[in-house]
């Protein structure tokens, strides 16, 4: 008897799930496309309008330049999926670039290690403050935004720190492998890693669970604190790599670099269709979002070079704001339509 009744419930459920299959899957897919569409439009527009836009040189320079931002955004994506936020990344990039600069005399690997360890340590501290001291991520990492900046300036004695240009250190930025700049390998590997972690490891799913419903995650016996700790550590580590690339690119540790990177990263993640409330998100779309927001700067430079109109930096700021608005609106539209 019970079974018969249950079958009726079941049929209801099936109808329901088919019905709902649409919006949950389609939604996130479309949100990703929101950024993708914009990116494609931008590239096509640029290639048609500007000479020298669609050249190997330009593509390489744009991609390598945005690698640092993309790495930071990847870390941010995981933090946000866990229901948190990391405002310290910009300062951490600055700090780790300084550390890398000091360590550069011992060669690339040791510099890389030093910077990544520093970033990880900072991330662990953030995670500890958030998970164990129960201080909201926004404040905890806001404080770290100040502290890491201060530490960077302190270590660098308020100046830039020269890197060793005689050994292999700067090759991480300037060398190429199979005609592809080294930084791009970092970009690809980092995101491939991110995809695997998110979709094929317990950790990835648990991050989403914590972001989706922390209490539930705890009652299900997930080590919520440890998961948070690792997420922030990951963000710190990626910022560390970005710091190394920055130092290699500029021949210096830059204690004052990375201002406002945290917001760019958050924007990239959101433009990629990840919910700031946590529990849902996409790695691939974060890359798209980050490239999208990076490309707009290049576009503005080319537009000025185009000589048609000269946009003052002030107008450029306005345009960037409007652009962000358009992309975000486009996305919510698409998401809404399907829903």
């Amino acid at each position: 008897m019970g079974v018969i009744m249950a079958d009726i419930v079941t049929s209801g459920n099936n109808r329901r799930s088919n019905w709902s299959q649409g919006w949950t899957r389609g939604k996130s897919a479309l949100q990703r496309q929101g950024a993708l569409i914009a990116l494609i439009v931008l590239i096509v527009f640029g290639s048609i309008r500007y000479t020298g836009f669609l050249t190997v040189y330009n593509i390489n320079s744009v991609l390598t330049y945005n690698t640092t931002f993309a790495l930071v955004a990847l870390g941010m994506a995981f933090v946000i999926m866990s229901g948190g936020i990391d405002l310290s990344v910009g300062s951490v990039v600055a700090l780790t670039s300084v550390v890398a600069a000091y360590a550069s005399q011992y060669g690339l690997l040791s510099a890389l290690a030093a910077a990544v360890l520093t970033g990880t340590a900072i991330g662990l501290f953030n995670g500890w403050v958030i998970a164990w001291l129960k201080i909201p991520p926004f404040i905890a990492t806001l404080a770290m935004l100040l502290a890491a900046r201060g530490l960077a300036l302190f270590l660098a004695h308020d100046a830039t720190v020269t890197v060793n240009t005689t050994n292999d250190f700067t090759s991480i930025w300037s060398n190429t492998q199979f005609h592809i700049p080294i930084p791009l390998y970092f970009l690809v590997f980092a995101y491939a890693f991110g995809l695997i972690v998110l979709h094929l490891t317990r950790f990835g799913r648990h991050v989403l669970a914590v972001g989706g419903n922390e209490d539930a995650a705890r009652l299900m016996g997930l080590p919520v604190e440890r998961i948070k700790l690792m997420v922030y550590a990951m963000s710190g580590a990626l910022a560390g790599i970005a710091g190394v690339l920055l130092a290699a690119q500029t021949y210096t540790g830059l204690p004052k670099e990375g201002l406002g990177w945290e917001l760019t990263a958050v924007a990239s993640v959101v433009v990629g269709g990840t919910l700031l409330s946590g529990g849902m998100g996409s790695v691939a779309a974060t890359l798209v979002g980050s490239l999208l927001l990076g490309l707009i700067f290049t576009m503005l430079n080319f537009e000025n070079g185009h000589g048609f109109i000269t946009l003052s930096p002030y107008w450029q700021a306005v345009i960037r704001g409007v652009f962000l608005l358009i992309v975000v609106l486009l996305q919510t539209r698409l998401a809404r339509q399907k829903k």
Partner: protein
């Protein structure tokens, strides 16, 4: 082993201590911050040379007044579960607009007291509209507050710079500068404004429906809507309010310098305000608004700044100490998250 129908001797029902009533609770939330403030003052009295003087009181109060005003608005925004990153840029817009008006950049006007009022009024009105813009993005287009306000955070300062072409507008207008430089009965006028704003804000939260609605929305939006609360309207009003207060702060800011630099007005104001709110014991998760706390929070942050500068602590160390104190203050009154 198991005694069937065993009836344990029923004890008298447990006596229940009544928990601290709401007022007290908010007071205790404020309490640790108060202690921190007092400690800071004592520290300064001992360490900082010439700290105990009307001069330094005046200095600290005037320097912190704009932050207090902005932070009050930020408290309400945060109480609804939102955030407003655009306040700094909005300050810049107000700061760029008012002089442009009374200097007759749009229409030549006589430099007269009512023109000053007009200029201030128009500036506030326009910025209020920008606040509404934030509110609409959030309520109508359902864009998350950080991103929605990030748009004006980026574009807003640009707008102000475009208006002034990035150059500094110097002017000579004692009448207008009164809001930044004048004083009534020996109290700096901007301090009076700040106090009025704080008191009004506190009353708003304590006594009015609006205050209740703000906290209810931050606490559980779905429930608030089902209880008949006009969620969208309330949210929009909150962002407009935040805009208006930012505008006032912006006007004070330029009046103090008697010049308006779109690149500088309100730079990092959002961080100061958010820090003040958090240090003041308002949960960033929304659902509560502690305006007196915010006042104290702002004072603490201001006092740290002066302490560090006047004791010649270099910027880098200062930053780290700043961070430590913010963490400490928030830690002292964090509320157990459910």
């Amino acid at each position: 082993m198991v005694k069937v129908d065993q009836v344990l001797t029923p004890k008298a029902p447990a006596t229940r201590r009544s928990p601290v009533p709401e007022r007290l609770r908010t007071f205790f939330a404020t309490y640790p911050t108060l202690i921190a403030l007092v400690l800071l003052i004592i520290f300064n009295v001992i360490v900082t040379p010439h700290f105990v003087s009307l001069q330094s009181l005046y200095l600290n109060l005037t320097q912190v007044a704009p932050t207090i005003i902005v932070a009050t608005g930020m408290t309400l925004v945060i109480a609804t579960g939102g955030i407003d990153l655009s306040v700094g840029s909005l300050m810049a817009i107000a700061g760029a607009l008012a002089p442009a008006i009374f200097l007759g950049k749009f229409v030549p006007l006589p430099l007269d007291w009512y023109i000053n009022i007009l200029a201030a009024f128009v500036a506030i009105l326009v910025v209020a509209l920008f606040g509404l813009f934030n509110g609409v993005l959030i309520t109508v287009f359902r864009i998350q507050p950080i991103i929605a306000t990030l748009i004006l955070f980026i574009a807003g300062r640009g707008i102000a710079q475009v208006m002034t072409n990035g150059s500094i507008q110097d002017y000579d207008n004692a009448g207008f500068n009164f809001i930044g430089r004048g004083s009534l009965l020996g109290i700096p006028f901007q301090v009076i404004i700040a106090l009025v704003v704080v008191v009004a804000g506190a009353l708003l939260v304590k006594a009015t429906i609006f205050g209740r609605y703000v906290q209810a929305i931050g606490g559980n939006e779905a429930a608030a809507r089902l209880a008949g609360i006009p969620v969208s309207t309330v949210k929009r009003m909150v962002y407009v309010l935040s805009g208006v207060l930012a505008a006032i702060a912006g006007l004070i800011y330029i009046a103090v310098n008697s010049s308006s630099d779109a690149n500088q007005v309100g730079l990092n104001a959002e961080l100061d305000a958010i820090a003040a709110v958090a240090v003041g014991g308002t949960s960033l998760l929304g659902g509560s608004a502690n305006i007196p706390g915010t006042l104290i929070g702002a004072l603490i942050i201001q006092l740290i700044r002066t302490t560090l500068i006047s004791n010649n602590i270099s910027f880098d160390i200062a930053q780290m100490i700043n961070a430590a104190i913010i963490l400490l203050a928030v830690y002292m009154q964090r509320r157990r998250k459910s």
